[in-house]
């Protein structure tokens, strides 16, 4: 314990240093493309040098690596923040378009590493291909980071019921997180890479056979990166609308898989397909997707009237529901032009999210399922006061404290969304920008729940540069807080966290 603080911040910073130190590796990817394209190399060489210096410096802060709950919370928060800071450097150094502005660069980098997909890029063509590849790489890293975070760290810190995630072993060893972290990371890393590689091959295959003329190998890589991580950056200003229907249909299952618990995927890859059927959360997740897809499809079919091919209506409805619910944020069409009822359903989808233990964001199917189940239980107990009925998930009883954590998490998420909306409205009014309430609400939800596009000014074919800089800065913080499940950042704000 150093300097009268209860939290050993040196340990946290030292671990952050280790993460930052290794960031030169992913920076090589856009660097190679920049070499190939003959575009500027400095945007990538500068952060490479920076990560080496800062990373090694931070790492030397502490000798020991004993990570306890407090240090873990601090480390998690700082890791996401520092990767966003490093990730913003190439945008600033390149100095092209809106991204040259430091606040916008940080917004873009944070949107990347939090797998959000909200962008402030106004002119997609102005940026080098290497910069676009860096945006995609950041998201891919963010997706991998969240997998490790969710399965290895948050589940052990019992954040908002994250301990319920279907882990293979339930070793509860909060004192020493590090060994388990590396084991789980190694396991998920392989599945994550395999899925990405599979999608690259499929998309390139479509290009080769002529079904996807726009999908060059570069596009295939960039989109595979941002699909499996359910993030949603695209080098194209028109997102997935720039590609053929074959590409759009191909991406749908991969977005669904990206938002499926990777522990389940691991079980299935081991031949244990029955786990899918036995998982209450998976059934709920798929059921919700199917319900909203059908509902939006029906509305769109009614809106369109006769004459419009049904395949197109169904494709866009399914794609958009999957894209928003899994928190990817791709657009296969400008859904901002859809009828109010279809847009409102998509808005509701923002609050659901995919399964816990995946790259998805938002509140997640697991929490909604527990909220619904415990509410049903409460109704039963209201009529039979002496009955004792534990809430069960896939047959396993959940302890009451976890149920309470999940209720609290869900409520805090909605509270955050409400406060964020108020801020967006007030800040816009301050600078005289006229926003409808739907625009403000959807932009707040889209950034806080890490989805990407909103409706109106920040619609799928537009960007977030229309908001005041103060709003974009606050949204940067919202993405950060929302991505790492709120609590790791919130606990840092409590005095008892720091004081001894």
């Amino acid at each position: 314990m150093s300097g009268g603080l209860r939290v050993d911040w040196r340990v946290s910073c030292s671990l952050v240093g280790t993460v930052v130190k290794w960031l030169w590796v992913p920076l090589c990817l856009p660097l190679v493309l920049a070499l190939y394209d003959g575009t500027a190399l400095t945007p990538f060489l500068v952060p490479m040098a920076l990560t080496a210096v800062v990373g090694f410096g931070l790492e030397r802060l502490a000798e020991t690596r004993d990570l306890r709950a407090r240090e873990a919370f601090l480390m998690v928060s700082l890791t996401w923040l520092s990767i966003a800071l490093v990730g913003a450097v190439p945008f600033v150094v390149a100095g092209v378009g809106t991204l040259a502005h430091p606040v916008y660069a940080l917004f873009e980098a944070m949107s990347g590493v939090t797998t959000t997909g909200a962008t402030v890029v106004t002119d997609f063509g102005a940026h080098a291909r290497a910069i676009h590849l860096w945006r995609a790489t950041l998201q891919w890293l963010g997706g991998l980071g969240i997998l490790v975070l969710a399965t290895a760290v948050l589940s052990q810190l019992s954040v908002g019921g994250a301990q319920l995630m279907e882990t293979e072993s339930q070793a509860q060893d909060v004192d020493k997180l590090t060994p388990r972290m590396s084991n789980t990371a190694a396991l998920l890393w392989k599945i994550y890479v395999a899925l990405t590689a599979l999608l690259v091959v499929l998309l390139s295959g479509l290009h080769v056979v002529g079904l996807a003329p726009e999908m060059t190998p570069y596009d295939a890589l960039a989109h595979a990166f941002t699909t499996i991580s359910t993030s949603g950056f695209s080098p194209r200003g028109t997102s997935i609308a720039a590609f053929s229907p074959a590409v759009q249909w191909t991406l749908v299952p991969f977005m669904i898989v990206g938002a499926t618990s990777f522990v389940l995927i691991y079980a299935v890859s081991r031949g244990n397909v029955g786990r899918l059927r036995r998982s209450d959360e998976f059934r709920f997740y798929v059921g919700v997707l199917a319900f909203f897809a059908l509902a939006v499809c029906a509305i769109r079919a009614l809106d369109a009237g006769p004459g419009v091919p049904f395949e197109r209506t169904a494709r866009h409805a399914v794609f958009q529901v999957v894209s928003i619910t899994t928190t990817t944020g791709y657009a296969s069409t400008d859904f901002n032009t859809w009828s109010a009822s279809a847009k409102h359903l998509l808005f509701v989808c923002m609050f659901i999210g995919g399964m816990a233990g995946s790259t998805t964001c938002s509140i997640k199917a697991l929490r909604w399922l527990v909220v619904i189940k415990s509410f049903r239980r409460d109704l039963f107990v209201a009529t039979t006061p002496s009955a004792i009925r534990p809430v069960r998930l896939s047959g396993e009883p959940i302890d009451e404290e976890t149920v309470r954590d999940i209720y609290a998490y869900t409520l805090i998420s909605l509270l955050f969304f409400g406060v964020a909306t108020i801020f967006v409205v007030l800040d816009a009014a301050r600078v005289g920008v006229v926003l409808t309430e739907f625009e403000a609400m959807s932009a707040a939800a889209s950034t806080f729940f890490n989805i990407g596009p909103a409706f109106g000014v920040a619609g799928p074919m537009a960007n977030y540069a229309g908001f005041p800089t103060t709003t974009t800065f606050v949204m940067t913080l919202l993405m950060w807080v929302g991505r790492i499940e709120i609590l790791p950042v919130l606990v840092l704000l409590t005095p008892s966290f720091w004081r001894s």
């Binding site: 039979t384 002496s386 009955a387 004792i388 009925r389 534990p390 069960r392 047959g395």
Partner: protein
């Protein structure tokens, strides 16, 4: 055969009584009074001393013993007795335990703690209670041949369709044999002309399906409705085991346990059971929870008096049947007179199971019908048996006349024995044997 029984309590002395007529029985107990009492009551050799001590076991002749039965009320003592006996000699060891944890451990190797056969009192009790629920009018049900054959004892209800009929008229069930009719505690072998009077008990042997259809026929037409709503009172180990077994059979029982922490624990272990935390002797609570609507109420509380109280309260509210687990043997028949439909005594169930296992080397399974009156045995036919290779009509001439062949299982199929059925070597025969004929049966089958 030499049988050494450690523990002369109710279980031990009951086993000793059942075995002493045909075996050499030695009973060991620490309590000198028990030992002395046994000496007067039974033809057994009593030894006073601690059965976990090697000196005592050696004095009791463990070296010559074929079977050692540890039947004290203490689990750890019983395990130690078996361990000690296995160290001194090589007898077949049988241990009685209360804790299911020991049973679970033992099942992993079937040899743990040096125990060759382990019986768990609460599990046996739970099993026999659940069998009683499956046959609402049965007073006793025992499985044979891994459950492919059942022996069941029914009380003929005066209002049922078969009351007053002759056996010949009532015998219209596929693969079912009428083994005995018990009136006033006396078992007789029925002939075609025997009349099944209301209030008498009939003992049938057959496939579970045929026993089930017979169960419907002996029941009064009003009770024919199937059992659906079951309330278990008392969430001890016995209550938990009963609820678990009921869940396995597709029931969704209710369970009442007064201790809230225990109730929460039970609720987590029993997904299909509605667990309620309340005192079950509270009549208002029972009324508010509509326990009167229950088809069966099972009382498994730790006190016999409370079991009686709960049973009577629920019966008064309108519950269909009351089954209770009653620890004190003297209460069993008394409580059945007062209003409990079936009182199950865990010690009796345990003693029966141990006796059944011990009885005869070749007898695989035994059910005691009326203590001291008759029993039902399952025997594997070998080539020295009088039954082997002959039609039953011829073979029965060599057997005592009171013996009834109830069912034959051959390669997993059940054969209903008729006069011309030929029994083959390897068949399993379930026979009804009155006490007097046991020695002859042991020799000839």
């Amino acid at each position: 055969m030499r049988v050494l029984i450690v523990g002369a309590g109710e279980v031990g002395s009951s086993i000793a009584a059942d075995l002493s007529d045909s075996h050499e029985v030695v009973v060991v107990d620490v309590d000198a009074d028990y030992v002395e009492q046994l000496q007067y009551d039974l033809d057994v050799l009593p030894v006073q001393g601690d059965g976990t001590e090697s000196d005592v076991l050696e004095e009791a002749g463990v070296a010559d013993a074929d079977i050692v039965i540890a039947s004290t009320d203490d689990d750890e003592t019983n395990l130690a007795v078996c361990g000690t006996a296995a160290t001194l000699a090589d007898p077949f060891t049988i241990a009685r335990v209360q804790k299911t944890a020991y049973l679970r451990t033992w099942r992993r190797t079937q040899r743990a703690f040096d125990v060759d056969f382990m019986v768990c009192t609460d599990l046996l009790t739970a099993q026999s209670i659940v069998r009683l629920i499956e046959f609402p009018t049965a007073t006793d049900v025992d499985p044979f041949s891994s459950g492919r054959v059942q022996m069941a004892e029914f009380e003929v209800d005066p209002e049922s369709e078969i009351a007053g009929q002759t056996v010949q008229a009532a015998d219209r069930f596929e693969s079912l044999t009428f083994a005995a009719v018990v009136e006033d505690g006396e078992a007789t072998i029925p002939t075609g002309e025997t009349v099944l009077t209301g209030g008498s008990k009939v003992l049938v042997i057959g496939t579970p399906d045929s026993v089930e259809s017979f169960a419907a026929a002996v029941a009064p037409s009003s009770a024919a409705a199937s059992v659906d709503d079951i309330v278990v009172v008392g969430g001890g180990q016995q209550g938990l085991l009963v609820a678990e077994r009921l869940e396995e059979r597709g029931f969704r029982p209710r369970l009442i346990e007064h201790d809230e922490t225990r109730a929460r624990d039970l609720a987590e272990q029993l997904p299909k059971t509605t667990v309620m935390a309340h005192d079950a002797t509270d009549a208002d609570f029972l009324a508010a929870e509509n326990v009167g609507d229950a088809d069966v109420v099972i009382a498994c509380l730790d006190s016999d008096e409370k079991c009686l109280l709960v049973s009577l309260l629920s019966k008064r509210l309108g519950a269909g049947r009351a089954i209770a687990s009653i620890e004190t043997p003297e209460y069993v028949s008394l409580f059945e007179t007062v209003g409990i439909d079936v009182a199950v005594n865990p010690r009796e169930v345990t003693a029966e199971e141990i006796t059944r296992f011990t009885r005869e080397r070749r007898a695989e399974n035994v059910a005691i019908v009326e203590p001291g009156e008759a029993e039902v045995l399952e025997v594997e036919v070998d080539d020295e048996s009088v039954l082997a290779g002959r039609p039953i009509r011829e073979a029965v001439a060599d057997l005592p006349s009171e013996v009834v062949i109830g069912a034959i299982t051959r390669d997993d199929t059940v054969i209903t024995p008729r006069g011309d059925t030929v029994v083959e070597v390897g068949d399993h025969v379930v026979v009804f044997v009155p006490t007097g004929a046991q020695a002859a049966i042991a020799e000839k089958l």
